[in-house]
Amino acid sequence: MSLIRLENLNKIYASQAGNVHAINNISSDFKAGEFTSIVGPSGCGKTTLLNAIGGLDKPNSGKIWIDNTDITSMGDKVLIDFRLRNIGFVFQAYNLIPVLTALENTTFILELQGAEKKVRNERGMELLKAVGLEDKANSRPNQLSGGQQQRVAVARALASRPRFVLADEPTANLDSKSTETLLDIMAELNSKEGTTFIFSTHDQRVIDRARRIICLEDGLIK
């Protein structure tokens, strides 16, 4: 059974040059445990598609079913809570909270969910260990390298054991070594914890590691 099902998804942006069809009648399924890359050139609609799946952007038409729940019909308040409990996000620019330590960043979502401190810290340390940063638990983001920050971002995305993780160009700002380390970590977490990963990328190293590849061009699946 599908974890995520997209039905005739359309997203149109209005611009001075006319309407831009960022997503053009896309339908697709994502199964639990997948390690999928959405690939394509810049402007092909990768980020728009991820935003729609993550409930951050509403499509103009079509449905997005997650575990048989249509998120396109949800109100903002419900959607925020749905994101909090079901989706992990990894952003291109890391987007850690600068005033929190690596451990606090990792456990932030658990705290928003109301988990107890002991549970939070155990899970946080477990994940920091998994991403090789247990010795940096008390470091602030500005004390970490780009690669280390992105590993903390991955740990944060996984802390609450979400149904799936959306990662938008996660390696775009990383060097080769950091990219390899990060991909190793995500692949291991995917196999160990069964977490579903959906990437948008045009990084060949990520594409090479993906078990499923969806190619987008001008808002259409090729």
Binding site: T47, L56, I109, L112, D168
Partner: protein
């Protein structure tokens, strides 16, 4: 928990900007408190000066005299009342007066006045005006044909020490009588109005002239008749309590035939002083509110800048699942914390400044003469005003909350996607 910690840490992301706001808040609260203490001190000084000069802390008279000040409306049981005042631990001293509405005449004119028949020793203990003798001396005793006038009246009547004046007044039977007095002293009163309207004569002599006592009682040493008693208490600002205690003690011991006696505080005797006190309290809080309101605009501006700088971060927080309630709480917490860091410093500095200057005083050389003309000393002793601290804390809390609402609403209106530009 984490919201507050995050808010606190967010404040220190731009330490200099936060320090400027905190410093401004401290200075605002400090200056506001000092100004409150200063104005309060000035008002206290004016009030105390008026009380010392001619109002007293409390006043007792018969109900009849208060309603209609007739010659015969004296206090019947003066001795019992005096004993009660002596026994009362709050009362420090008191003085009885016979009051005689008269016309004073001298060579060059006449004027309506109120003659206070006093025991000079007691009167000096209660009122300072009778100690400020600018020429001659005050009355020597309760008997004698001496009179003390104010400077303004002496000038008006063109009289000087050893000159004669004639008082014309009604006696107890309603007959008009005149008596001759010799000017022995001229006092420097709190205002020319007081100097022109109040004169002092020996209590027994004027009582005898008014027909209130006979010649045997005239030679008796103790004062046996009075229209009013003025008294002082340890703390004039707690006169209400002292007065109530005195009144209830008196009422407990009176019988059904006893005369109705009225106990009035200085606020009742001189309502303008009491009203000034109440108006001042309100005005000082209003003044503080204006200072804090100005401060809150500064805080609002700082928070708007912070929101603008952290648009991306706020968008990310919303994207990962931080709901609007928590975002609102975060912004409000940051604003309130920012305000509250400066508050204790301001309160502390204000308190210390007032503690020091309330002991040393501040002398205003440039307005010394003007102050003296108003009967005030040029050295002002600001008063410590702890009663205002809690309202100030409340005001800061309310205003900082209000100034956080607009930035918080701005933050809540952010769209996660637009704020982050890219997912």
């Amino acid at each position: 928990m984490k919201i507050i910690i995050m808010a606190w840490r967010n404040i220190w992301r731009t330490p200099w900007r936060s320090l400027v706001v905190i410093g401004a808040m401290s200075l605002g609260v400090w200056s506001g408190i000092f100004m409150m203490g200063w104005i309060n001190g000035l008002n206290d000084q004016r009030t105390i000066s008026m009380l010392d000069d001619n109002v007293g802390h409390g006043r007792i008279c018969s109900k009849d005299f208060l309603e209609k000040p007739e010659v015969f409306s004296t206090i019947n049981n003066l001795e019992a009342l005096s004993n009660r005042l002596v026994a009362d631990s709050n009362v420090t001293t008191f003085s009885s007066r016979v009051i005689c509405n008269s016309m004073i005449q001298a060579g060059s004119g006449s004027a309506p006045i109120i003659a206070y028949g006093v025991n000079p020793n007691n009167e000096k203990k209660v009122f300072k005006s009778v100690q400020n003798i600018s020429s001659g001396e005050f009355l020597k005793g309760q008997v004698g044909d001496e009179v003390v006038l104010g400077e303004a009246l002496a000038r008006k009547l063109e009289v000087d020490i050893d000159d004669r004046v004639v008082l014309t007044f009604q006696d107890i039977n309603g007959d008009v009588r005149s008596a001759l007095f010799w000017l022995v002293g001229i006092y420097d009163g709190a205002s020319s109005m007081i100097e022109e309207s109040i004169i002092y004569v020996p209590s027994k002599t004027i009582s005898f002239q008014m027909g209130l006592i006979d010649s045997i009682e005239l030679s008796n040493e103790s004062q046996i008749i009075a229209h009013e008693i003025n008294y002082r208490v340890k703390n004039p600002y707690e006169i209400g309590k002292a007065n109530n205690a005195l009144e209830s003690s008196f009422l407990k011991n009176r019988n059904s035939e006893s005369q109705s006696i009225v106990f009035r505080t200085w606020k009742e005797v001189s309502p303008d002083l009491g009203v000034a006190d109440a108006i001042l309290s309100q005005s000082l809080l209003l003044f503080m509110m204006i200072i804090l309101l100005a401060m809150s605009f500064g805080i609002l501006n700082t928070m708007l800048m912070a929101i603008l700088e952290r648009t991306r971060e706020l968008g990310m927080l919303m994207a990962i699942g931080m709901n609007k309630k928590k975002i609102f709480k975060l912004i409000v917490s940051e604003t309130i914390l920012l305000s509250f860091v400066g508050l204790p410093f301001g309160l502390f500095l204000g308190h210390i400044s007032l503690l020091v200057t309330s002991k040393t005083g501040i002398t205003l050389k440039s307005v010394e003469q003007g102050f003296e003309q108003m009967g005030l000393e040029a050295t002002v002793y600001p008063s410590v005003v702890p009663e205002y601290y809690l309202p100030i804390v409340g005001l800061v809390l309310i205003l900082s909350f209000l100034s956080s609402i607009y930035p918080a609403i701005k933050a809540l209106k952010l769209n996660p996607i637009e704020s982050m530009r890219v997912l």
